[in-house]
């Protein structure tokens, strides 16, 4: 979303974005904090619930759209990102956001992270990271460290963990940030920045699973997290293309820190053209005002395509 398109008013409250049914997560689940933060952001930005679309895959976190009063699509395991990209490119006027877990977005759906980064479609991905597959009762997620053995595992985890933000940065995401779900206010602040970012944004939100991850708990995270806001001189924004290399290097240094988990914006670059902008300049100048979902394709049942001009080079 670009800042210019945000209409600031106090019309809607977080309550206005609650759907008709309550959440069905385990008591104390980290995801409650993310939901709360999201409702706050929607209210703050006065997002139009009829043009905001939440897209999810499968998992505990992917149930989130059912608790929110916006248009949404709860799709299948791993495919939320390409579904969301199709939706956004068909109608770039929509505000599109993906929510999902570490398994959904970085294991079964991992390839789509790579595809998304390369395109820089203007949308937001919220990674609700608890390092386990909660909905199937606690198997190891892709962010679970090597050798760790949360209670559902019969043996220590033989897989090493991947670093989702490093992958996202390498793929081309232009907004990389991290939050922690029990800090609702700060999570809301970061999500808001992600939504306002022009381009592909990803926020990794540590969101402890109170039922199956008995190791990476609230206490475990709180010993490790700190806010970048308190670091003197921290400026993750690429103001000039020449700064990009340096800003990425600094982001990587933070992202790779094994002991201390930086919360906040790690990297932000709005100088990279979005896929929508690339499409308009390379394919079709009318794309912004007449994208696929908006086009009239027939008039009184007759196709609007001028077949004879379209195929002029092939007619004999």
């Amino acid at each position: 979303m670009t800042a210019a398109t945000v209409k600031i008013s106090l019309k809607r409250t977080p309550q206005d974005y609650k759907w008709t049914k309550p959440p069905e997560w385990c008591p104390g689940c980290g995801h409650f904090g993310i939901l709360q933060a999201l409702l706050q952001v929607f209210a703050e930005l006065d997002m139009d619930p009829t043009r905001t679309v939440l897209v999810s895959g499968i998992g505990c976190s992917s149930r989130l759209p059912h608790y929110v009063r916006t248009v949404s699509a709860h799709t299948i395991h791993g495919r939320a990102i390409p579904f969301a990209i199709g939706l956004k490119l068909a109608n770039p006027g929509l505000e599109v956001m993906v929510v999902g877990g570490d398994g959904d977005l970085f294991a079964i759906g991992g390839n789509h992270i790579l595809g998304a980064g390369r395109r820089n479609v203007d949308f937001t991905v919220l990674l609700m990271d608890n390092a386990v597959y909660g909905l199937t009762r606690g198997q190891a997620g892709p962010t679970l460290p090597l050798g760790m053995q949360p209670k559902a595992l019969s043996k220590p985890n033989p897989h090493a963990d991947l670093n989702p933000l490093l992958v996202a940065l390498a793929s081309g995401f232009t907004f990389i940030a991290r939050a922690y779900s029990y800090d609702i206010k700060y999570t809301a602040k970061i999500i808001k920045e992600a939504v306002l970012h022009k381009g592909s944004a990803i926020v990794q939100i540590f969101s402890p699973c109170v039922t199956y991850n008995n190791i990476m708990t609230r206490e475990w995270y709180e010993k490790r997290v700190y806010k970048l806001d308190n670091e003197p001189g921290w400026d993750p924004v690429v103001h000039d293309e020449k700064e990009d290399y340096e800003k990425r290097k600094r982001a990587i240094e933070k992202i790779l820190d094994p002991d201390r988990f930086a919360l906040g914006i790690l990297y932000k670059n709005e100088l990279v053209p979005t896929f929508e902008e690339r499409y308009a300049s390379m394919y079709d100048p009318n794309y912004p005002k007449m994208p696929p979902a908006i086009q009239p394709v027939e008039k009184d049942g007759r196709s609007v395509i001028d077949f004879y001009r379209l195929m002029a080079d092939r007619l004999l």
């Binding site: 759907w19 949404s72 956004k88 390839n111 696929p292 908006i294 008039k299 007619l315 004999l316």
Partner: protein
């Protein structure tokens, strides 16, 4: 009545395709109708053999492609061996005499199986295993052979046009064989020049050189196979191939979002849609008048999982959306196809099927994926599977598929194959406006409102709401759900929702016209009916001309299956199912839905399409009492 079958063969990637296009366009420019298909290995260059086999006629359709051709243009000695049995008695073969002494063994890119088979044949027949020997054998079978020393001819011509480099000259071999072919067909050189210009596109200087080559070479041949006197065609005609016809059908049908992952033989379909961007529009509205052209999103995704998921998302946004793939790609799409059924989203999936399981025969044809397209996706859900019989039908069907996906909010699999994808034709232009583009209008509210996207409706169709357009808030979902679109596992609701979705099948069956379900050709009281589906159509229709009293039932709508109609056509008749797979899938399908068992099946699964002669052979053997006929011709 003019009717000439022809073949152009040579090393893959060395101008066979260009030569075929030159020839097709040349005869097309002279007012004739042409069609044919391209056969190639799953390589780019490297010396494997590729060929084009087709038919020219003074009417459309030009009739079937048989097992042998009247005119064969061999670009190299390898081609002579490949097609030694493919030229008819009285036909003409053109070849390079400079390769006379080359042995069969020296052509390392001929399949070793073929080398062994031919060696044995030559030994038995007492034929010398050289190009010369092969040519002599063809002569003994009544084939007229026109031999030319290709390199010498090109050297002579090259001197006249100022090209001397052997590498440059070798690039004229395609034009050389086309010019010889055109002379044999009695086609004036100006038409060859049009073919050259069309096939070579923008390369001005190259076009001029090739035109000169054509003019000079054409003079060397005095024999005639036929005399194609330039004629005025009866109708506006179009040159295109199957991939392109379907691609354009989708565009005309309003598809504006196309996602794909590269796979043979489907990729030329979305790539044509991309190349044609932006599309000229009629001044139907003030807005369109001002714009002149409209765009579409053509998106190459990271895999087929993403291709169909992106199309699903675009469909939710309200765009007519489509993806195209082949068997391996469709396998990856299976889970999302099931989701389209449950979430009720309409996407067109053009399935350009190819032969064999796994990677199989990536560039060869087959009708192996009938059952796979019918039953793909876990669980039960409504979908539509429509199979086209020929290039014209495929164009119209693409428009219909776009209408149906949008209207019924189900996945629509448009089943076509490699044979059609690489069928090139100069044919009557279709009437692009004869199929209505029917677009359901979304409900639009004045004030923002929560709605039930999955309201229980009589006809099973969902009310149409679009994000950003309807001012409606709603949930789309892949889990079993309540009308609001939230998960619900209540037994009563599960059944209600299930019933509602499946009611679409009845609605679809009721609304789709009979002619889109089956087509029957031949006498109403036929004793025997050939049953088939897909691209066997032109060959069966052609064979039917020589099988008086035999009917042909073309199955088109394969899911939901029009059991009553099919039963009406087949009850009390003898049935012979003809199709390109091992298990005669359509015969099993018909038995499953109608209880009617096949009296005979003729199947072919060697990666080659069923020819008109195959159909005749199948009928003959069936009439003699064979129940399972395995067809093996290799053209």
């Amino acid at each position: 009545m003019v009717e000439v079958s022809f073949l152009v063969g040579g090393p893959q990637g060395k101008g066979v395709e260009t030569a075929s296009i030159m020839l097709i366009y040349a005869v097309g420019s002279a007012g004739y109708y042409v069609y044919g298909r391209r056969e190639f290995w799953s390589n780019i260059a490297g010396g494997r053999h590729s060929y084009f086999v087709g038919k020219v006629a003074d009417r459309w359709p030009p009739g079937g492609i048989g097992n042998r051709v009247r005119l064969a243009l061999f670009m190299d000695g390898h081609a002579v061996f490949e097609h030694i049995f493919h030229v008819e008695r009285g036909g003409v073969a053109v070849y390079n005499t400079e390769e006379d002494g080359k042995t069969l063994e020296s052509f390392t890119m001929i399949s070793r199986t073929a080398v062994e088979r031919l060696s044995e044949f030559f030994k038995r027949q007492g034929v010398e295993p050289t190009v010369k020997g092969a040519v002599e054998y063809m002569k003994s079978q009544g084939v007229k052979v026109v031999g030319l020393p290709f390199n010498k001819v090109l050297l002579d011509v090259g001197r006249k046009i100022g090209v001397t480099s052997p590498v440059m000259l070798s690039r004229f071999v395609n034009t050389l064989v086309v010019a010889v072919g055109a002379s044999l067909l009695g086609l004036p050189v100006e038409y060859v020049e049009r073919g050259v210009a069309f096939a070579l596109g923008r390369k001005k200087e190259v076009i001029e050189q090739n035109k000169m080559v054509a003019a000079e070479v054409g003079k060397l041949v005095t024999e005639r196979v036929e005399t194609l006197t330039p004629r005025t065609p009866e109708t506006k005609r179009i040159y295109w191939n199957g991939n392109e016809a379907v691609s354009v059908g989708k565009i005309v049908g309003g598809v504006r979002f196309i996602s794909f992952y590269p796979i043979t033989p489907s990729t030329d379909d979305p790539m044509f849609a991309e190349r044609k961007l932006a599309y000229p529009v009629l001044p139907a509205t003030e807005e369109l008048k001002a714009m002149e052209r409209v765009g579409a999103v053509v998106l190459q995704t990271e895999d087929e999982l993403a291709a169909i998921a992106a199309a699903a998302g675009a469909a939710m946004a309200g765009a007519r959306s489509a993806t195209a793939t082949s068997g391996p790609g469709m396998s990856l799409m299976a889970e999302t196809i099931s989701m389209l059924g449950m979430a009720e989203l309409g996407v067109v999936l053009t399935l350009w099927s190819r032969a064999g399981p796994s990677t199989g025969l990536a560039t060869r044809t087959g009708q192996h994926d009938l059952f796979y397209s019918l039953f793909i996706g876990h669980g039960e859900f409504p979908k539509i599977v429509l199979a086209s019989g020929d290039i014209e039908e495929a164009f119209y069907d693409a428009i219909k598929a776009a209408n149906w996906a949008d209207k019924y909010q189900v996945p629509v699999i448009h089943l076509v194959d490699k044979d059609l994808s690489n069928t090139f034709a100069v044919m009557p232009a279709p009437d692009p406006y004869s199929v209505k583009v029917e677009r359901p209008q979304p409900v639009v509210f004045q004030e923002e409102k929560n709605v039930n996207r999955y309201e229980i409706t009589k006809d099973g169709l969902p009310v149409r709401y679009l994000p950003g357009i309807s001012k409606a808030v709603y949930h789309v979902v892949s889990l079993e759900h309540d009308p609001e679109g939230d998960p619900d596992e209540d037994a009563e609701m599960v059944k209600k929702m299930y019933d509602k979705r499946m009611r679409k099948m009845e609605t679809i069956m009721r609304e789709i016209p009979d002619e889109d379900k089956v087509r029957y050709y031949g006498p109403a009281n036929a004793d025997t009916v050939i049953v088939s589906w897909g691209t066997t159509k032109p060959q069966i229709l052609s064979a039917l001309g020589r099988l008086p009293g035999v009917g042909y039932l073309q199955l088109r709508l394969l899911y939901p299956f029009p059991a009553d109609l099919v039963r009406r056509h087949l009850e009390g008749r003898r049935t012979l199912f003809v199709e390109g797979n091992y298990t005669a899938q359509s015969s099993l399908l018909v038995r499953m839905y109608t209880g009617i068992s096949a009296d005979g099946v003729a199947v072919k699964y060697n990666g080659r399409p069923i020819t008109a002669d195959d159909v005749l052979e199948a009928y003959e053997r069936f009439a003699k009492g064979e129940k399972r006929i395995e067809l093996e011709w290799d053209l």
